[in-house]
Subunit: 91 residues, 10 copies
C-alpha cells in the first residue's frame, strides 16, 4: 500500500556541525537501505526548503511507523501522512 509523506526537518541551528553531519549521514544510509528494499520508491527535495516529499510502499500503518520512527532524524522532523488509492483515470 502507498503512503504520501511530507517531511519537514528542523535541526536546531546551534547543533554542533559534527553531530549534524553524523545524523545526516546516518539518515542517508537508512533511507537508501529502505530504497534498496523497495519500501521507499520515490523521494524529492521540496525546492527552497529543508523538506521532502516521499512515496512509501509498505504493508500497513504499523510498518510505515516502524520505518519512519527508525530514521535518525525522527526527533527533528514533522511528518504528514496521506494514504493513497489508485486513481480511476490512471492508465
Amino acid at each position: 500500500m502507498l503512503f504520501h509523506l511530507y517531511i519537514e526537518i528542523n535541526l536546531p541551528p546551534d547543533m554542533p556541525e559534527e553531530k549534524a553531519n553524523d545524523l545526516r549521514a546516518r539518515e542517508t544510509a537508512q533511507v537508501q537501505q529502505y530504497q534498496r528494499e523497495g519500501k521507499w520508491p520515490q523521494m524529492w527535495r521540496v525546492a527552497g526548503r529543508y523538506a521532502n516529499i516521499s512515496i512509501v510502499d509498505c504493508a500497513d500503518a504499523d510498518e510505515l511507523h516502524r520505518l519512519v520512527s527508525a530514521l535518525p532524524l525522527f526527533p527533528y522532523i514533522t511528518t504528514t501522512v496521506t494514504p493513497l488509492a489508485r486513481h480511476p483515470a490512471r492508465l
Copy 2:
C-alpha cells in the same frame, strides 16, 4: 488495517426535506451494512456538530476509498483520514 476518519457533513439548508431524509436513510443503511461486514467497527457523533468520528478497518487505501465514496452523502462530506498504528503501551 485501521483508519481514523473525521467526517464533517454539509447539507445545503435549502435541500427539500424529502430529499434530505432519503439521503440520510440510505446513508444509515449503507453504514450499518459496513458495520455488519466488520469494516466500520466504531463510530461516534461529535457532540454539538453534524460530524462523526469513525474507526474503519479495511485492507488498504483502495478499499477505504471504495467504502467512503460509495456513501450516499459523499458529495456533501469532508473527510480527514489518519492511518493508525498499534500503540506500544496498548495492553
Copy 3:
C-alpha cells in the same frame, strides 16, 4: 522539470448528473492524453476525498499552467503546486 500537484475538486452538489458525467469523462480523456505524452507520469486518489496528488513533468511553469488550465474541471478545482528538486539521498 517535476511539479507536485495537490488538486481538490468541488463540484456543486446540485449540478445536473448529465453535466457532471460529461465533465468527468472529458477530464479523464484529457488527463490520459497527458499521461500518454509523458507529461503527467503519476497520479493518485487521496483516499476518502475527492482530491488527487500528481507528479507532472513539463518544461516550465508556462507549460504547467497550460496543462492545468486546459482541464475541463479547471473552474471547479483548487491546485497547490510544489516545485520538486532531486533529493541528494535518492539512489
Copy 4:
C-alpha cells in the same frame, strides 16, 4: 462518558536520554494502569508522528483532567479533547 483525545508529544531533542527513557517508562505504566481500570479503553499511534489518538471513558471533565494532568509527559504534550455522543446509526 467518552472523550476523544488527540495528543501530540514534544520532547526537547536535547533532553538527556536517561531522563527521556524514565519519563516514557513511567508514562507507559500510568497509561496501562488507566487501561486496567477501564478508563482508557482505546489508544493508537498516529502513523509517522509522535502522537496518539485515544478514547477515554470517565465520569466527567473533572476526572478526565485528573487522568491527563497526572501523566508524566503532561508538561510536554498538547491535547485536543472532543466529547463523543452516541451515533444514531450505530448498531
Copy 5:
C-alpha cells in the same frame, strides 16, 4: 457537567424575512426553555458578531447533543464545544 459552547450563526442573507423571524422566535423559545430547566445557565452575545458563547450544564455528551441538535437554528450554526473542569484556584 459543564460544557463551553461557541456558536456562530450563518443565516443565508436571501432567506425570506418571515422565515428568518419565525426561526429566531422558535430559537428564543427553545433556549429559554433550556434556561428554565437549568440546562443552559449562561449565555452572552459576542459583541459585533452574530455569535454566542454559552455555558451548558447537562449529564453528558449525549444530552448535550440532543439539546443543541434540537435548536431550530441547528442547520445554520457551527458549534465548538469545550468540556470544562473545576479550576483549582476557584474559591
Copy 6:
C-alpha cells in the same frame, strides 16, 4: 462590563520546580484576590490542557489590562479577549 478570556499557559519544561511552584502559588493568590473583589467572577480549567476560560467583570479595557498584566504568570501566557454583550434571549 464582561470580558471572556481564553488563557493558554506555557511554562518552560526546564523551569526549576521551586520557581514554578512559587509562580503558581502567587498566581493563585492573585486570582483569588480578584475573585474576592468581584472582578473575576468565573473561571474554569479547559479539560486536558494547561489552559483556562474566565469571565472577567471590570470597568473597561484599561482595568482589564491592569488585572491581566499583573498576574505573576503574565510572561508565560497567551490571552484571547472577547467582549461580551447581553444576549436578547437571556431570561
Copy 7:
C-alpha cells in the same frame, strides 16, 4: 471605551445593483450619524479590499453591539473586535 474593528464585507456578486446601491447609501448615512455622535471617531478603507478598520468609542460591549448590528450591511459583514487599552508610552 475604545474598540478596534476589522470589518470584511461580502455582498453576493449577483445582488441587483439597485439593492446594493440602496444598502450602501443607508450604510453611509448610518455610519456618518455615528461619526456625528462621536461614537465612531475613526475609520479607514483597507487598501485593495472591500474591508474597513475603525476605532469605535462607546460605553461598553452592549452599546458596541447595538451600533454594529444596526448597520444595514450587518447581514453581509464579518467583524473582529479588539478592546483597546491606553498604551503606557503614549504621550
Copy 8:
C-alpha cells in the same frame, strides 16, 4: 511607492459564458491601460491557479485602492497587499 499584490479570482462557475468573457476582456483592457501608464509594471500568473502576483507602483494607498477597486473583476477577487521597501542588498 511599490506594493505587492496577490490576487485570487473566484468567478461563480455558473456565470453565463458571455458575461464571463465580457468581464475578462474589460479586465484585460483595464490592466493594460494601467501598464501603459506605468502604474502596474509587473504581473504574473500563479502557475496552476486562477490567481496573479503583481507589483504596482503608485503614489500611495489611496491611488492603490482606486486602481484595484476600478477593476471589472473587483467583486470577484480577494487581494492581499504587501508594502515593499528597498532591500539593502539590492545592487
Copy 9:
C-alpha cells in the same frame, strides 16, 4: 500616508530583568520621539496581551521600514502592516 501596524512582542522569559528594563526604556524613548515628530500619531495596547496597534504616518514603505527596524525591540517583535486608504464615508 497611513499604515496600520499590529505588533506582537515576545521577550524571552529568561531575559535578565535589567536587560529587559533597559530595552523597554529605550523602546519608549524611541516611540515617543516618533510621536513628537508626528510620525506615529496613534498607538494602543491590545487589552490582555503584550501587543500594540498603531497608526503610523510616513512618506512611504522605505520610511516605515526605517522607523520600525530602528526600534530597540525590533528583534523581538512580529509586525503585520496594513496600508490604509481614505474611507468614502468618512466625514
Copy 10:
C-alpha cells in the same frame, strides 16, 4: 523560468552580534553575486518585517534549490516558493 520567493528570517536574538554581522555580510555578498549572474533579478524588503520577496530566474527547481540552500542564512530562513507563468494580459 521565474520563481517567486517569500523568505522569512529568524535569527535567534541571543546570537552574538559578531556572528550575526558576519552571517549578514556573507549573505549580502552571496545574493549580490546571484544578482550579477542574472539569477536573482529582483528583491524587496517586506516593510516592517525581517522578510524579503524575490523574483528568481533559473533553469529549474534543482538550480533554485542550489541557490537558496547555499545562502549563509539558509538554516535560519523559511522559504515559500511559487512558480510563475506568463500572464496573458502582460504587454
